[in-house]
């Protein structure tokens, strides 16, 4: 099924969790925060949250800012 990750189309197998998606994308050991469809998914909920077709996923990291 197709989802969007940081604005880019991405294919995943069904029933993957957000935690697994992050691992598959190479984010292990990286400090990131995740939102799905403009709602924050807290770190403790990543394993229990299943990715659905059409989800728009944002993966954000720390950045310099004013």
């Amino acid at each position: 099924m197709q989802i969007q990750v940081n604005g880019q189309p991405h294919q995943v197998t069904a029933t993957v969790s957000l935690q697994q998606l992050l691992l598959d994308l190479g984010y292990q050991n990286l400090l990131v925060a995740v939102a799905v469809n403009k709602r924050c998914v807290h770190r403790g909920d990543l394993a229990a949250t299943t990715v659905e077709a059409g989800d728009q996923i944002e993966i954000l990291a720390p950045m310099a800012g004013g």
Binding site: N6, G7, L25, G26, Y27, L30, L31, V32, A33, V34, A35, K38, R39, C40, H42, R43, E58, I59, L60, A61, P62, M63, A64, G65, G66
Partner: protein, 265 residues
């Protein structure tokens, strides 16, 4: 010493971390500014890319400063609320510099979205630092929403124009004497920061004026001094300006005048 909630803070200068010429320049600027609070942001990052965000975090995570994440780039209350929650996850702080931008050209805050987002975030347990205009009623609404600190702009972000409406800033200070007030955005020179402090503001937040200087660490030191001296002047009690002259040298005893009774005796 000033405080936000239960947090006591010595330095009255908050420093942004963006657009510095190098990581070393940023680190040296933070050190020489004496700041205890730096602002940070969140941006998309690919795990397969250069991982700039991870490197940035490695550089600052052990510094003796608090981080104040912002919601820069958000154009609606919902975007800002979501970004704030992501920031809390990422940086493990309930502090959030709340920005809801209403206009691309001036980056002027959207006061309606700002108040809406502030209400939600206060309910969600955040310490909200709202980046706002100098409008008195918007400021009151933000306080009504539960904000315990206000951050009115001096001028548009990155403009360096200084205090474009000092009377409005002065009015906010006089109407909210107990609320921590931070001038955020538009400060271009140390004298601008000093002017804000002389109005009785608790602190100033700036970024571009330091990061775009020829020598950012030296400029950070200059701002630290300006902020400290401006505050010292305010606390010492500034004289009120007058529209007429008052001689500072005593008039009694001046030459080329008839002697007065006092001088003759």
């Amino acid at each position: 010493m000033w405080s936000i909630g239960d947090i006591k803070i010595n330095s009255r200068l908050l420093l942004g971390t963006s657009r510095f010429p190098s990581p070393l320049s940023l680190q040296q600027s933070i050190a020489r500014s004496g700041t205890e609070i730096i602002t940070v942001s969140l941006r998309r990052e690919s795990a397969m890319g250069p991982r700039d965000g991870q490197r940035f975090w490695e550089q600052i995570k052990d510094l003796p400063v608090r981080v104040l994440p912002n919601t820069a780039g958000c154009y609606s209350a919902q975007e800002a609320v979501t970004t704030a929650h992501m920031a809390r996850d990422l940086f493990a702080t309930n502090w959030i510099k709340l920005e809801v931008i209403g206009d691309d050209y001036t980056l002027q805050p959207d006061p309606f979205g700002l108040v809406e987002a502030a209400k939600q975030l206060v309910k969600d347990g955040f310490e909200v630092f709202p980046y706002t205009t100098d409008d008195l009623i918007v400021a009151q609404r933000l306080l009504d929403a539960g904000c315990r600190v206000l951050m009115p702009w001096a001028a548009p972000i990155g403009s360096g124009m200084g205090l474009t409406n000092p009377r409005a800033l002065e009015l906010l200070r006089s109407r909210f004497p107990q609320v921590p007030l931070i001038v955020d955005a538009g400060i271009g020179r140390p004298s601008h920061a000093m002017a804000a402090m002389e109005l009785g503001y608790d602190a100033v937040l700036l970024n571009t004026a330091v990061s775009s200087a020829d020598d950012p660490p030296a400029m950070a030191a200059a701002f630290a001094a300006a902020v400290a001296f401006g505050r010292q002047g305010f606390e010492a009690g500034l004289m009120e300006p007058r529209s007429f002259a008052v001689a500072s040298t005593p008039m009694i005893g001046r030459a080329f005048t008839p002697a007065t009774n006092a001088e003759g005796q």
